[in-house]
Every structure is written in structure tokens, then in C-alpha cells.
């Protein structure tokens, strides 16, 4: 089946936030109480009620100021850290691309929040047991994709900065755009390899770090932890055998030397039990 992705061309985005509101509309998420603390970015961060956020950045580009808008949402990684670390497998990578969450399994340990290199999964901090706090993040509109509709944010983008399509075709399109106007883009498609590659790809006129995207190597972040999990069972077997061996050896040494047994100390079950 096709593997979907979204290409976000930051040079076309005008920061209208249609995608931020469309995400809230489709997912019926409430507005948050916010204040203007000196930036257009509101709400200030992703949260359990805000799964897609535009962040406004004023970046100086050689004297002339640049005004850029980063669309921050789940990257739907190819090797998602959140899927790898979730102890109960509540997060799952579907072959079509979306990383989806099963809120019936989740125990709320929040390991996915700690492990995600993009800091995407968020939590219902204000919900008690009755309401049931859960992890919240963009679902790549998995229900829309299942029914032949494109994601709400991609559909609503007026300036066509967000293009939905098959991931590998989007990479080809992105590289074409870079080739066609090299002076307009940084020569790199963000998400092609980062942390093992992501479904959401970015093109930008300024270095991605200045926009607020983390600098990540090609290896999935959970490579080491997954490797250690491979060795756990064999190690356990070997270590158990060693311990048993040691126990036997010391037991044997002790019986041979016939340590004078003045009788076990008060708390030894032999003693108590024997003496009564």
C-alpha cells in the first residue's frame, strides 16, 4: 500500500494558521486561554488541546529581517521513538505512514513524551481519573486517510505550502524545487533522513535549526535501547546460570570446611523452627 507523507514548503507558508485551526476543527479540540506575551505564536506550545502549531520566527538574514513560520506537529517518523519505547505498545506505526495511538492501551507513563526527539506527544495534565488523562498528538488524520480524504491541514492550506502525497514522490518534488531555484532554498530536504527519516518533510530558506527543528543524525534515536533489549533474554539466561553455579560452588566450599555451626543466629528460620 502507498506510504503517505506531507511536504511543507516554509517559503510558501504565510503564517495564516489555517492549518492550526483546521486541525482543531476536525479533531473537535477546544481553544486555550492565552495571552499576548510579545509574539504571534499562540498558544505558546503544542499541548493536549493543540496538535498542530505555527511558530513565528523573526530571523535576521544579512541586514534584512526574515519572517518565518514553522508548522510544528507530529513528524510520523519511519522509526518512531514513541512506538519503540511505549511499554504497552499503545503507539503503532502503520504501513501507510501515520503513527497512531490507541487510547485504550495507554497507561500514561509518558515515556513517549521523553523519548520523542521532536517533543511532540502531549498529555492531559488537568484530567483526573474520572475523565482519564491520555497522550494527545497529531494523528495524520488517519481516519480521513482511511476514507480517501486528505489530512485537514493539507486540505485547508491556502498558499499550497503543505502538499500531501506519497512520501517518495514528495522527496522527488522537493528536490526538484531546490534544483529549480537553488538560491531560494537550503539545499536539504529535512526529514528525508533525520532520525531514520520522517513522513513530514520540510523545505526552508533558512537553516532548519533557526526555524526550531532539531539537528538529528540519520540513525533512529532508539537504536541503542532497542539493541540492549535484544541482549536482555540471552544475558538473563547466562547470568542466571552463573549465579546458580556460584551458589553451588560456595555451598560446596562451605560444607567441606565444616564451619563450626554454633547454630544459626536468632533470626535464621532453622534455628527458630528447630528450637521450638
Amino acid at each position: 500500500m502507498a506510504k503517505y507523507g506531507m511536504l511543507i514548503d516554509e517559503t510558501r507558508c504565510t503564517g495564516c494558521r489555517g492549518c492550526q485551526v483546521a486541525c482543531k476543527q476536525w479533531n473537535d479540540l477546544p481553544g486555550e486561554e492565552t495571552h499576548n506575551t510579545g509574539s504571534y505564536t499562540n498558544p505558546p506550545h503544542l499541548s493536549a488541546q493543540t496538535w498542530n502549531l505555527i511558530e513565528y520566527k523573526e530571523i535576521d538574514r544579512g541586514g534584512q529581517v526574515g519572517f518565518f513560520f514553522l508548522k510544528r506537529a507530529c513528524m510520523h517518523c519511519e522509526h518512531p521513538a514513541c512506538v519503540s519505547v511505549c511499554p504497552v505498545g499503545a503507539l503503532r506505526k502503520t504501513p501507510e505512514g501515520p503513527v497512531v495511538y490507541d487510547d485504550h492501551k495507554c497507561i500514561g507513563c509518558r515515556y513517549c513524551m521523553a523519548a520523542c526527539p521532536f517533543g511532540i506527544p502531549k498529555f492531559d495534565w488537568q484530567k483526573g481519573l474520572l475523565e482519564g488523562a491520555l497522550i494527545r498528538k497529531c494523528t495524520f488524520c488517519a481516519d480521513r486517510l482511511s476514507n480517501g480524504l486528505i489530512p485537514a491541514c493539507a486540505k485547508t492550506c491556502p498558499s499550497k505550502a503543505i502538499t500531501f502525497g506519497e512520501r517518495d514522490q514528495l522527496i522527488v518534488e522537493a528536490e526538484n524545487r531546490i534544483r529549480k531555484n537553488p538560491d531560494k532554498y537550503v539545499n536539504h530536504v529535512y526529514g528525508k533522513e533525520e532520525a531514520g527519516g520522517t513522513s513530514i518533510l520540510y523545505l526552508s530558506a533558512v537553516p532548519f535549526e533557526q526555524l526550531g527543528l532539531p539537528k538529528l543524525g540519520p540513525a533512529p534515536v532508539t537504536t541503542l535501547s532497542e539493541q540492549v533489549m535484544e541482549y536482555t533474554l540471552p544475558f538473563a539466561g547466562v547470568w542466571l546460570a552463573t549465579l546458580a553455579g556460584l551458589a553451588a560452588v560456595f555451598k560446596f566450599r562451605e560444607r567441606g570446611a565444616k564451619q563450626p555451626e554454633i547454630g544459626p543466629a536468632a533470626d535464621d528460620p532453622h534455628n527458630k523452627e528447630a528450637s521450638k
Binding site: F123, Q126, T222, W239, L240, F250, R253, I262, P264, A265
Partner: protein, 530 residues
């Protein structure tokens, strides 16, 4: 029914009341958490999903409970019998430690009512999956290792019998599970290369966590023994602890070598010399690792309770607690426009509430269950010894009132159960005993090392007289043959008294020699009767 050593009168001391209050506060705060969510009682937020409860209650809680498997493996796997007296407290501390971790989890987990999901929903790639399973299984093991005390108290024979037979299996499993999850708590953080500070991030994290946990085991035993000896007026098994703590410098040594090697390999020494985290790095390494290695390798420290306590605290706080905080919280990059996470009072209320509950539980167990080795129960004399009491024993009858006053000041009254080992041949003779009621049998080892009954002490007679005779090493073991009451005079204080008052010293020396002679006659008579 076995009569336990009565530790304290029934009246609840103020300390426990205070702890109880802390527990109640903790429960109330937890209630607020369950009604209005974690956010209502904590500064945790989307940038800091894990805070005090994970860094301290989980990571440090599990690490400091390592004393259980260290002691258990020492006693049962390596057959170091001498550590037996401190085994039960260590097991209890471990068991309570893990219960406290689980209670902390029940507060920290977003959906505590689904904690059992780990059983039916699996993700073998997740380190936390393995940690979860190990904690579940190991808590069960600890419960089984702890249960003998309970069954003894209840006098149930059949379970005790069964448990006795499977003890070795339990200890093996316990040690295995502990090794697994003490190390995988470290591997958890290997999944976050972009979060953990480079000075702490390494592929040896599992090893680091295991080694520091193993090292903190004995340290915690020291700390906990010291505290319980203070609280329950018990003697401190300084010798045992000293020996156990020998392991600490070895473990920390390996840890230090590995860490130095790893940082050099990764070429990250640069980080160690700039930025706030470098300070914390050196504090942790110097105070938490290097200092304990040095201290614990000095016999003078290993033989003195106070010094060992200080060294142990260094390991616990700088070697483990600070390390766990650095790895899991302080070292993390702080998002742009957000202040550093600091736990608020309610988070501390939960942690303190849990620890108070743990201490109260420890006290209750110590009070109602046979936790401590009675033989070593050297209860300092609280009952005031008066010259009249001294007079009851011929050995201590002196005309001069001043002598009696001097002796009374350094004497204390002690009680022993029937068939309780008072002291053991070969140990240093710290005190002179004078039996007031009951009878005590002496044993000493013959050539082949077989235990031989060498005499009986009746009311009024002294024993443990080696306390006055160099090299002050007990020549025989003493075990009560009936419930006894005796006077215990501190050997050193008595020797000082005799130096100040040579006349008294001379009188005592004469009576001691008399006692030694009678014992020798008795022994020759007994052997001939064999």
C-alpha cells in the same frame, strides 16, 4: 508463642505521630491528583513529563533498595554467613523500597488504574516493558523473602517450611531480576540521546546504573542500620557493616574506570570544563565516587560507625541520587521560553508521605515482627542501676560507697531470652557481665573446633571476664539456658575506673582470678565426668 525482645513501651512516640501526619498529607495530595489530574499538584508539564517522582522515587528508590539483593546474594549465594544479622533489615528495606516505588508510580502514572496493562499488552522493544516486568516479579520475590518474619510472628509452620526450601531459588531470581532492571533503568535513557547530557549519555548507561546500584546497596545497609540502631537503641554491627562495605570501593572503582574510559573514547572531556553541568559532574564524581572509594578502603573508617555513615551518605546522595537526577532531569536541555522545572511542595508532600509510610512500616515490622537478631540486641541500660542492685552479686560487694557509685554509673541492666546467644568466642570482649537471675552456659571450641560445654554461670557470678584480661578476646561463647537478667558493665569504662582507683582494680582482679580458678576446676571436673 515466642516472646520478642520488647523494644519500646506501647505509647506511640512523637516521631511516629509526625510521620503519620506526613503520610496523611501525602494521601490528601494524592486524592487531589486523582480528582483534578497530575497538573493540579505538580509543576510537571509537556516539556518536563518526568519530574521528582521518576528521578527520585523511581530511579533512586529502586537503586537504594539494591541493599536487599546484595545482602541476600552475599548470604545465600556467597554463603557469607556473618552478614546474616543484617539480612532481614536489608530484605525489609528492599521490600518496603519497592512498595514505595509502586505507590509513587500509582501517583505518577497517567492512568494508574491500568498499571496491569503491562501484563496483557506487550512491546518487547521497550526497555520500560522489561523494567515493568522485573519490578513486578522482583517485588513478588521480595514479598516471599520477607514473609518468613510474618509467618514466624503468626507461627505458621507450613509456609515457613516451604519458603525455607525455596529460599535459594528466590535469591537467585531476585539477584537476576535486580541485575536486569537496575541496569535497564539506565538503558531507558539510552533511548534519548538528544535529551540526556553528553557527560552522562553513553552506551554503558546500563552498566553505570547497575554498578552504582550495587555500590549503594551496602551503603544503604549502613545508613539504615545506623538509623535503626539509633531509633531502636540497638547496637550497630560495625564489624559486619565494615566488611560489607569492602565491596563499595571495588564496584565504584570499576564504575569510575569505565566512565573515564567512555568519556575519553567519546572525546567529550570538553564538556566537563564549561557550562553549569560540568560543576554537577565534578561534584558527583568527586564526592559520590572518588571520596567513597578512598574512605571505604581505609580500615579506620570501616571500623567506625559514624565515619562509615558519612561515607555511605556520600555514595547515596552524590553517587546515586545526584547521578540519577543529572541523567533524568537536570541535564536535559531547557526549552527556549520556559523556566527550569522545580518540583512544588505537593510533589515533595507525596514523596515525603511515601517515605514516611515506609519508615512507619519499618518501625511496625521492627516492633511486631522478629526483624533483628536478638543475640546482638545490646540494649543500652535505660533502667538506672543503683548500688543496692550491685550488692546482689557477691562479685560486686564492696564496703566503699564511692566504689559502688562509680561502678553503678557504668553499669546497665539487660535481659536475655532463654537460649539466646549473648556473645561468641573469638569476638572482642567489650563488656563484663554479672548474672543476677537465670543461668548461662559457656561453650568453647576444642582442637577439632567442636563446640564443648565448658561451664555454667549461676546468679551472682560474673562472665565475660576477658573484658578485664588482655588481649580482651572472649575465650568462650555464652548462651542463656533460661530467661536471664544481668548487669552489663562496659569493659573500657571499667578499665578506666580501675586505673583511677587502683584499689578497686586490685580487688576486682583478685575476684576475677578467683572466678577463673573456679571455672578451671569445674572444667576439669566436667571433663573427667565425660
Amino acid at each position: 508463642m515466642i516472646k520478642t525482645a520488647t523494644l519500646a513501651r506501647y505509647r506511640v512516640p512523637p516521631g511516629v505521630l509526625m510521620l503519620g501526619a506526613l503520610v496523611v498529607i501525602g494521601v490528601l495530595v494524592a486524592l487531589v491528583r486523582y480528582l483534578f489530574g497530575i497538573g493540579a499538584i505538580s509543576n510537571l508539564n509537556d516539556a518536563y513529563p518526568w519530574g521528582l517522582w521518576i528521578s527520585f522515587d523511581l530511579l533512586c528508590g529502586v537503586a537504594t533498595a539494591a541493599g536487599a539483593f546484595i545482602t541476600a546474594s552475599a548470604v545465600y549465594i556467597f554463603r557469607m554467613e556473618r552478614f546474616r544479622p543484617i539480612l532481614r533489615p536489608a530484605i525489609l528495606t528492599g521490600f518496603l523500597g519497592y512498595l514505595m516505588v509502586i505507590v509513587a508510580l500509582l501517583v505518577d502514572l497517567g492512568r494508574p488504574e491500568r498499571i496491569w496493562h503491562l501484563i496483557i499488552y506487550w512491546n518487547p522493544h521497550s526497555v520500560l516493558f522489561e523494567v515493568g516486568w522485573c519490578v513486578m516479579l522482583y517485588t513478588t520475590v521480595l514479598a516471599l523473602e520477607f514473609s518468613p518474619m510474618l509467618f514466624e510472628r503468626l507461627g505458621w509452620k507450613m509456609p515457613l517450611e516451604f519458603l525455607h526450601r525455596i529460599t535459594i531459588v528466590l535469591v537467585l531470581l531476585g539477584t537476576l531480576l535486580s541485575t536486569l532492571h537496575q541496569s535497564s533503568l539506565g538503558s531507558m535513557f539510552m533511548a534519548m540521546p538528544t535529551k540526556v547530557n553528553p557527560l552522562w549519555f553513553s552506551q554503558f548507561l546500563p552498566l553505570y546504573f547497575f554498578l552504582t546500584a550495587a555500590a549503594v546497596g551496602p551503603a544503604m545497609v549502613i545508613v539504615e542500620s545506623y538509623i535503626s540502631s539509633r531509633v531502636f537503641w540497638r547496637g550497630l554491627e560495625v564489624d559486619l557493616l565494615g566488611e560489607l562495605s569492602k565491596a563499595i570501593p571495588i564496584l565504584l572503582g570499576i564504575y569510575l574506570l569505565l566512565k573515564v574510559f567512555d568519556i575519553t573514547l567519546a572525546g567529550e572531556w570538553g564538556f566537563a570544563f564549561q557550562g553549569g553541568m560540568s560543576i554537577l559532574f565534578w561534584v558527583e564524581i568527586l564526592l559520590g565516587v572518588v571520596a567513597p572509594i578512598v574512605l571505604f578502603s581505609m580500615p579506620s573508617v570501616r571500623s567506625d560507625g559514624k565515619r562509615m555513615l558519612v561515607a555511605a551518605l556520600l555514595v547515596v546522595f552524590f553517587g546515586v541520587v545526584l547521578n540519577r537526577f543529572n541523567v533524568s532531569l537536570i541535564g536535559w536541555p531547557r526549552p527556549a521560553n520556559l523556566s527550569m522545572y522545580l518540583p512544588n511542595w505537593m510533589e515533595f508532600a507525596i514523596t515525603i508521605g511515601i517515605w514516611s509510610a515506609g519508615i512507619v512500616a519499618y518501625g511496625l515490622v521492627a516492633k511486631f515482627l522478629p526483624l533483628f537478631a536478638a543475640d546482638h540486641v545490646v540494649t543500652p541500660a535505660k533502667a538506672v542501676v543503683t548500688p543496692e542492685i550491685l550488692q546482689r552479686s557477691r562479685f560486686l560487694v564492696f564496703p566503699e560507697a564511692a566504689w559502688l557509685q562509680g561502678l553503678a554509673a557504668i553499669a546497665e541492666q539487660v535481659n536475655f531470652d532463654d537460649n539466646q546467644l549473648i556473645f561468641r568466642q573469638g569476638e572482642p570482649a567489650r563488656s563484663l557481665y554479672v548474672l543476677l537471675e537465670g543461668s548461662v552456659k559457656l561453650y568453647s571450641k576444642d582442637k577439632e573446633g567442636k563446640e564443648v560445654h565448658t561451664g555454667t554461670i549461676n546468679a551472682g557470678e560474673p562472665f565475660g571476664i576477658s573484658a578485664l584480661i588482655e588481649p580482651y578476646i572472649l575465650t568462650a561463647s555464652a548462651r542463656t539456658a533460661a530467661p536471664c537478667r544481668a548487669l552489663k558493665i562496659d569493659g573500657k569504662a571499667l578499665r578506666d575506673l580501675t586505673k583511677e582507683n587502683p584499689a578497686l582494680g586490685q580487688a576486682l582482679a583478685q575476684r576475677t582470678a578467683q572466678a577463673a580458678l573456679t571455672r578451671m576446676h569445674w572444667a576439669r571436673a566436667w571433663r573427667e565426668s565425660m
